[in-house]
C-alpha cells in the first residue's frame, strides 16, 4: 500500500547528517558514550572530511526524502586536512544561495562546526535542528511528486 501524503500532524522530520570523521562523527560517538539524549530523527553518513561533500549528495537527500541536511565539520583552523572545512563553507554558501533563489528555505541545509570533544554540543544541535525542522514542516520538494 503506497504511503499517503504526510500531514502536518503526523510529520516526523527526517534529517540526513554528513559528518566528518575527525571531529563531528567522533563528537557524535562521544554523545553516545556519555549518554547524551537526542531524538532519533537523524541518519548519519560518515565522511572523511566536510570538504568531501558534493552538492549532488545534499540535493539527492533533500529531493528523495530528507527534510533537512546537516553537514558537520571541524572548527575553522582545526581541519585534519588543513582547509577542507573552509571549502565546505564556500560550497554550502553557494548551495544555500541557490536554494533560496528557487524558493527553498536555506535553513534546510545546516553547516555546524562540532569537535570530537563536543558530544554535548552535538546532542544540543540535533535537538535544536529537529525542533526547527518540525516547525518548518516537510521539505518543499515533498510538496509535489513531480521533481
Amino acid at each position: 500500500m503506497a504511503q499517503q501524503a504526510v500531514t502536518q500532524q503526523d510529520f516526523e522530520p527526517r534529517i540526513v547528517a554528513f559528518l566528518c570523521h575527525w571531529c563531528t562523527y567522533t563528537g557524535a560517538d562521544l554523545a553516545g558514550t556519555t549518554r547524551q539524549q537526542y531524538p532519533p530523527n537523524i541518519r548519519v553518513v560518515h565522511l572523511m572530511c566536510s570538504g568531501a561533500i558534493d552538492v549532488v549528495y545534499v540535493l539527492k537527500a533533500l529531493m528523495d526524502g530528507a527534510d533537512a541536511v546537516l553537514i558537520g565539520g571541524c572548527h575553522p583552523g582545526d581541519c585534519h586536512y588543513q582547509s577542507g572545512n573552509y571549502k565546505a563553507r564556500r560550497r554550502v554558501a553557494i548551495l544555500r544561495n541557490i536554494l533560496t533563489q528557487f524558493g527553498v528555505s536555506q535553513d534546510r541545509v545546516w553547516l555546524k562546526w562540532i569537535s570530537a570533544s563536543e558530544g554535548r554540543l552535538f546532542a544540543e544541535t540535533i535537538n535544536e535542528m529537529t525542533d526547527a525542522v518540525r516547525e518548518m514542516g516537510p521539505v518543499e520538494f515533498k510538496l509535489g511528486w513531480d521533481v
Binding site: V55, V56, K87, R90, A93, R96, I98, Q101, G103, Q106
Partner: protein, 379 residues
Amino acid sequence: MKTALLQTNGDPNGALSAFLAGMIEKGIVDEVMAPAAQPGGSASMAVFADVTEMDAIIPWAPVMPVQGARLLSRLSFDDPGMKVAVVLRPCEARAAIELIKLKQILPDNITFVTIDCPGTCELKGFEESGLEMKTESNRMVDQMEAGAATAADGVGLRTACTICVNSSAHWGDVQLHVYGTKGSQSVAIAASDELADALAGAALVTFDAEPLSGRDAVVEGVNKGREAAREKVFAEMTEDAQSLEGLKKRFSTCIRCLNCMENCPICYCKQCIFKSTTFDHPGSSYAKWAMRKGVQKMPSETMLFHLTRLNHMATSCIGCGLCDTACPMGLPVASLFSKVANGVQGMLDYKAGASLEDPIPLSVFREDELQEESGAEDF
C-alpha cells in the same frame, strides 16, 4: 597596446580573413582557428593551416552553434605543438579565461584574437531566413558604428545576446575594435606591444593610429540598453523560479539529454556523475520509490541534474547562452542560469571571465567569511 587601422573596402570579414592569412604567411603563427562558413548556411569553428582555404572564414559570423572556448579546450588542453591564432567573441574569450584558470586551456602557444561582437542568431532561424551569411554579417558589423547591431527582421538575436553587457573585446593579444567605427571602411586593431612590433615588422599593418575616440561612448550606450533588457529577463526569471512550482512548470519537459551540459564551456569534467551509470537504477528502485512517495516522476532526477549542474558551474557561468541553443525542448536554461549565477557571483564578489588574476572562487577561501551565508557561526 598599439592601434592600427585595417582598411576593409566594404568587407570587414574578408579583410580580417586576409589579415589572419597574412599572419600564417609571415610566420607569426602556424595555424588559425576561426568560425568558417559551412554548407547549409551554418558556421562553425575550423583550424586552418592552408591559407588558400581561408576565405571561408567569417570572424563575425551571425551564428554560434558551439562555444569556441570549448573547442579551443580540445585544441589546447595540452600543447598543440605549434602557434595558433584563435578568433573568439567576447563570451568565448571570457569562457577561455575561466578555462585557463581551470587548467583546461594551455594558453602558451595561443594568440588570442578577440572581436567586438554584433551578437548571434539562433541557427535554425538564420538558416530558414535564406540570408547570405557574409553579406548579413558585414551589414551587422557596419551597424556597430553607432550602437548595438540588430538581426534581420523575423530572425532576431539569441536571448543571451540581447541581454549581453560584455559585447566589446576587453582582453586578448589582438583585439578587433568595431564599436565606434564604420566597419565597411575600416576597423581598428589593438595589439600588445610585442605582437604589434611583429605584425608591423611583417608589413601586415602599420601601428600609427590612435585608439578609436568614440568607442567607449558607443559601448556604454549599448550596455545601458542591454542592462535594462537584462533586468527585465532576470525579473521574469525571478518571478518564475521564486517557488519550486514555477520552476517545475518551466522545466517539466526536460528530457535529461544533457545537451545543455555538452554545449556549456564551463562543464568540462571528463567524468561527470550524470554521464556515469550512477543514475541508471534497477527497475525495482523506481517501483519502490513510487510505493514510498506515492508517485515517481519519469524520467527521474531531471531537477537534480539541473540544480547540481547549476551549483557546479554558477561561479564560472559567463552567460553565453549556448545551453539555450542546445536545448531541444526550448527550456529557458540560459536566462535562468545566468540570473542565478549572477546572484552567486555577487555573493562571492567574483565576475566570471573578467580577468586571469581573480582566482576561481572554489579554489580559494578566506578564514573569516560567509558565516551568515553558510549558516556556520564563527568558531
